[in-house]
């Protein structure tokens, strides 16, 4: 599944595919597609923002800064950030091992990376509970603790950096590493000065996706973290609680915060992509 995390706007190698301007029937087609997209995605999301502001800016700020919500935001952002740091290291290591190493069982490792992406999030929670919950054979029980949030996020974001770095590593030209060696650079220096810089955009793209996913995660935390207010409650749970309490404006306010993060991630991905294309 190496292409699941490549943004829709990019192509692996862009050929000179001619584009045509829209004719009558294709304009209609575009109109229908955009209409569906608006009805399903754009308008509902816009409503979230407008509902958030329905209590005025004051109402918006009040919700965001209420102690329980602030605590949820802090928990979510900090854990997502820490997990992303972990993923930057582990993701690169795993991608390296998958591309550069050969050993029995490597295929299993490759398939295992995709499991967190394909597994239903509620099942992920259950899966983690079996090893890290009350019935743990290891005796490790993180259920209802802050550590469980970290664990769940690490699980669901595992594939992102691996799958963005893998194709770049595969395409890396061998002769550049040979050139570096012929100029006297040790293996470590070659990695640090030649290989790593070419991986940075891919790592950054994967990190952005990992962070965005971490912020928005819900299903895997439901059973695992216990959703204890001010302790193990993440923003998405907060939003759900607001909804269940019939408080759409506050729910929308917290949701808008998350949307801002999502948009920031998309912009970041687009920027990274353009920079890479320039470097050629």
């Amino acid at each position: 599944m190496t292409t699941t995390t490549v943004p829709a706007g990019s192509a692996r190698k862009r050929r000179s595919g001619g584009t045509r301007s829209l004719s009558g029937p294709s304009s209609l087609g575009l109109g229908v597609a955009v209409l569906w997209f608006s009805l399903l995605v754009l308008i509902p999301l816009a409503l979230v923002v407008t509902t958030a502001l329905s209590g005025g800016i004051r109402g918006f700020i009040d919700t965001i800064t209420s102690p329980q919500t602030l605590s949820a935001v802090e928990l979510t952002v900090v854990q997502a950030f820490l997990v992303t740091l972990l993923n930057i290291v582990m993701g690169t290591v795993i991608a390296w091992v998958l591309v550069r190493d050969r050993f029995w069982g490597k295929r299993i490792l490759d398939v295992a990376i995709d499991i967190p992406f394909a597994l239903p999030t509620i099942v992920a929670g259950l899966v983690l509970l079996s090893l890290y919950g009350p019935r743990s054979p290891l005796g490790v029980d993180v259920a209802n603790t802050r550590a469980s949030v970290f664990l769940a996020l690490a699980f669901v974001t595992l594939p992102f950096i691996v799958r963005t770095v893998q194709p770049v590593l595969e395409e890396l030209e061998a002769d550049v590493e040979e050139a570096s060696a012929s100029l006297g650079a040790s293996r470590l220096t070659t990695f640090r000065r030649i290989i790593l810089p070419s991986l940075v955009p891919a790592i950054a793209a994967g990190a952005a996706l990992s962070f965005a996913r971490g912020i928005s995660e819900y299903g895997s935390l439901v059973l695992l973290s216990g959703n204890l207010p001010n302790r193990t409650e993440v923003v998405s749970v907060r939003v759900l609680t607001y909804i269940e309490n019939g408080n759409p404006a506050s729910a929308a306010a917290a949701a808008t915060l998350m949307l801002i993060v999502a948009l920031a991630v998309i912009v970041a991905l687009d920027v990274i992509q353009r920079r890479v294309a320039r470097r050629g």
Binding site: A118, I122, G219, V239, I243
Partner: protein, 273 residues
């Protein structure tokens, strides 16, 4: 690959291998195998009793209906949108292309909230009008299908767009110069060339649709046997202390997703050839 003389020293290689394998083992492989173990702890009883539980069977049926509908919708929308994005030029193309990635970064709970705000029968922007026409979206199957289609929206497009770009449109131009109209060109030239990318995207969409939880929870109201999908039933069984049923249903869902991954990993070489 660089010459074999340029490799990390053996201890470094082994260390990296060990770290990667141990991490994935502790995080993914062992926990997943434990779920399998708990499911079959009493032999097949957990599975058979789960499958004879009407809550569970209703949920599985509903999941199938919702997932397949979402897959069908995204097949049409996905292929259509990919062609528009790659073969045509229009104002706002770049923005649209970036916005299409939005569903991947948005929290499922936010997705649910957004759809509720738009389609709920009392205050929804479209919901009030639809309710007057007798169409129920929220707390009903259509809403769940929409929520599922929403979260999986980009998946087909992200597979098809790169392939369409890379192939280029020369074959389509040739087809047109030989007299074929747009529909014929699409059916005979374009579609076959993106066949594997589409299948790939659909399998991913299916996996994602089967597994959707948060958005569907908000939109469906989680009413047992009526608007409860398989994922929701796992939660309610676990919280109802029926762990066996929870694990059995989870196992069924997990198996379905693993099958999807395996299919995808077998298909990838076909896509690339």
């Amino acid at each position: 690959m660089a010459s074999t003389r340029l490799r990390e020293p053996a201890p470094v290689r082994w260390a990296l291998r060990l770290v990667a394998v141990v991490y994935v083992f502790l995080l993914v492989l062992w926990p997943v195998s434990l779920v399998v173990k708990y499911t079959f702890a009493d032999g097949m009883t957990a599975l058979t009793s789960a499958l004879s539980d009407p809550d569970v069977t209703a949920a599985l049926k509903l999941t199938a209906v919702v997932a397949l509908s979402a897959v069908a919708i995204n097949l049409v929308f996905g292929v259509w949108m990919s062609i528009l994005l790659v073969r045509y030029d229009f104002w706002g193309k770049r923005a649209l292309s970036a916005l299409i990635d939005l569903p991947l970064s948005v929290s499922p709970v936010v997705v649910g909230l957004a759809l509720v705000l738009a389609y709920n029968p009392r205050t929804g922007l479209f919901g009030t009008r639809l309710d007057a026409a007798g169409v129920q979206v929220i707390f009903s199957t259509p809403g769940m299908i929409m929520a599922t289609a929403f979260v999986a929206l980009p998946l087909v497009i992200r597979e098809v767009v790169p392939v369409l770009s890379e192939i280029g449109d020369e074959q389509e131009q040739a087809s047109r110069s030989l007299g074929a109209n747009a529909a014929q060109t699409f059916r005979r030239i374009t579609l076959p060339s993106i066949k594997w990318a589409v299948v790939y995207g659909l399998v991913l969409t299916l996996a994602r649709s089967l597994g959707e939880f948060g958005a569907v929870k908000v939109v469906s109201g989680n009413i047992v046997q009526q608007t409860q999908t398989a994922t929701l039933v796992v939660e309610s069984k676990y919280q109802g202390f029926d762990q066996d049923a929870a694990y059995a249903t989870a196992f069924i869902l997990a198996t379905a997703s693993v099958i999807c991954i395996v299919v995808v990993s077998l298909l990838r070489p076909k896509e690339e050839s």
